[in-house]
Amino acid sequence: MKRITLPLTDEQISSLKAGDSVLLSGTMITGRDAAHKRLFELIEKGEELPVDIKDETIYYVGPAPAKPGYAVGPAGPTSSYRMDKYAPALLDLGLKGMVGKGARSPEVVGAIVRNHAVYFAAIGGAAALIAKSIKKTEPICYEDLGTESVRRYYVEDFPCIVAVDSEGNNVYETEPQKYNKE
């Protein structure tokens, strides 16, 4: 198990290999479908973004509401492929890490390699467990989007797996093949 402190450094990214189990600590930002759509539209127009994504790690999440006494409600990853249309543009602007679940398009994998970035998979449906590692959250922008708003998460030992490393090695390609008996 590797412990990684966010924000990611180039050195850390180079050390991460597809399949590694890691615990992330530090800060990440959140964003999913609707926030990505807005950010992408701003990028296309050449306008400034309401959040600086350089060197950031983004978590594709739309949490459930927090019960009183909780920092956050259950907050597992959402399917990453829906962000594939937007992710290369964000990576080209300096985004270094993405956390979600499921496979990515060849375009995203290409952008990961080109920008020396990394894609982590968190376990889909382990929302109550993952929420234990999120200690504090605060708003950044798009609060009108509710659960889809962009927030800053302060995490400690957030569990995930390196799904696509900076060389383009991809666990969703390699691992199922090892167990395929068709």
């Binding site: 399949g19 189990s21 609707a34 999440v61 739309g62 949490p63 459930a64 509401p65 927090a66 019960k67 909780y70 409600g73 259950p74 907050a75 597992g76 959402t78 399917s79 492929y81 679940k101 499921g102 496979a103 998979a121 376990i123 889909g124 449906g125 382990a126 929302a127 109550a128 467990l129 993952i130 929420a131 234990k132 509710g146 659960t147 569990p159 797996i161 666990v171 969703y172 390699t174 691992e175 199922p176 093949q177 090892k178 167990y179 395929n180 008996k181 068709e182």
Partner: protein, 282 residues
Amino acid sequence: MDYRIIKAETITDTVKKLFTDCNYFIGDDIMSALKSARDNEESEVGKNVLSQIIENDEIAKAEQIPLCQDTGMAVLFVEYGDKVSVDGDFEDAVREGVRRAYIDGYLRKSVVDDPVFDRLNTKDNTPAIIHTKIVAGDKIKITAGGKGFGSENMSAIKMITPSYGVEGVKDFVLDTVRKAGPNPCPPIVVGVGIGATFERCAQLAKKATFREINTSNPDPRYAELEQELLTKINLMGFGPAGLGGNTTAIGVNIETSPTHIAGMPVAVNICCHAARHKTAEI
């Protein structure tokens, strides 16, 4: 004819409890299948993923919080007795139950008003999808579940023609699961509807995902098909969370219906491991 009067408030309270309960408490059938899958999983990563899912579901139960942040779109199958009268509007009472569950129960509001243009959140997770069937009797039976869309998006329907036979059914189910791959949060539950018309076939597939996975179709031919498909899906290798392994599905349920001489529609509704549904009879 004597009607049994049921208070609208009773419907609302029942629906509220069904939705909070199904989101906090995973069914015994799923928990037992997850534990057995963990013990039989070949991949170490897969075993670890299953252990974390089991731990997650235990936390949700102990703390009464949703086991997944996607608490779903509210779907209800209602069997409405023909000797029942509700002292108010039945669908309004259901809608109010959904609203209270999602607001008071700290469930995520995931419904948007317009599918294409506005996409504004309705903020109370309504409207719900209500399938009502009139049956004989003086009771109302409701099976309710929150359907997450990570898996819903991986579902498909095909108007297969009869000459393709059972092989056509198998090919379509397996192709749909293969295309879904790691995305629908495996291990999955696969609901298959066969027969009827285009729209009823899809409804049958949904109904199939609402049946306990430790049960079989009463027709032994379909029961055997359920087992065969489950075995074949687990040879694909996607494994828990799609990270490799021999547990891609924990259940395949088939529901059938009479159909037209020219058709054999097949719908595949994929559900994640958080296959949530509860039933109440009023």
